[in-house]
């Protein structure tokens, strides 16, 4: 990957859930890359947590987009420095209302060999959760809500 490509600010946000078809299409797009030997994919799904006897039916995600994209650009650059064998990294996060059971987060890395792809995905997932200003309002079955916070 060229330096110019690494530094480009990419928009990771998608309105609504991530369609499983989008995941399979993302895999298919790499079929022409003969230098890739491993893909590692993390998918986050909205969990129907029980909060005081009420189930989470959806999470409404909002974000401070400009700051989130700046942090994501820094995380991408650091990931390519730490795992130089990684050939590409794709990150998508949902905004808006995502129902329990739907996908809201995807981190997809490809590399020549599995070790670099695996390590990079684990680190990027943690970094996104810790550093990106994304906020989640958990909508409960009785229409009340609580604000989600990452541990």
């Amino acid at each position: 990957m060229s330096e110019a490509k690494k530094h480009k600010v990419k928009d990771i946000f998608v309105e609504g859930a991530i369609d499983p078809t989008f995941v399979s299409e993302s895999i298919a797009k790499h079929a022409t890359r003969m230098d890739i030997g491993a893909h590692e994919i993390f998918l986050g799904q909205v969990r129907a947590d029980a909060i005081e006897g009420r189930a989470v039916v959806a999470i409404e995600y909002t974000a401070y987009r400009e700051m989130a994209l700046e942090r994501m650009t820094d995380i991408r650059e650091e990931a390519f420095t730490r795992w130089p064998e990684m050939t590409c990294l794709h990150v998508h996060h949902s905004l808006g209302s995502i129902a329990a059971g739907q996908l809201c987060f995807m981190v997809f890395a490809s590399a020549a060999h599995r070790k670099q792809a695996r390590e990079a995905v684990a680190w990027v997932v943690d970094s996104v959760k810790e550093q990106l200003p994304i906020f989640g309002k958990e909508i409960l079955s009785d229409n009340d809500h609580v604000w989600k916070r990452n541990a």
Partner: protein, 74 residues
């Protein structure tokens, strides 16, 4: 200056922004706590120009200020 509010903080304030003439982040914090009921007991960070800052910082008025509740991505 325009202060951007997010998530729980925006909900408490009833708006996603406020106009606050603050000279420092400590001054901003005092004014926010006066204007947003229940803010004092909450955990939040202040970002200047899209970077979280700690301690007191002088503000010129040209910065992009945001008040951020705990993150919940993923």
């Amino acid at each position: 200056m325009k202060v951007l509010l997010f998530g729980l903080i925006a909900e408490k304030a009833g708006s996603d922004h406020m106009e606050i003439p603050a000279t420092s982040t400590a001054d901003l914090d005092r004014q926010l706590q006066d204007r947003i009921r229940g803010l004092k007991g909450l955990s939040y960070s202040i970002a200047i120009d899209r970077t979280i800052v700690h301690g007191d910082r002088a503000l010129s008025g040209s910065e992009e200020i945001a008040v951020l509740p705990p993150f919940a991505g993923g």
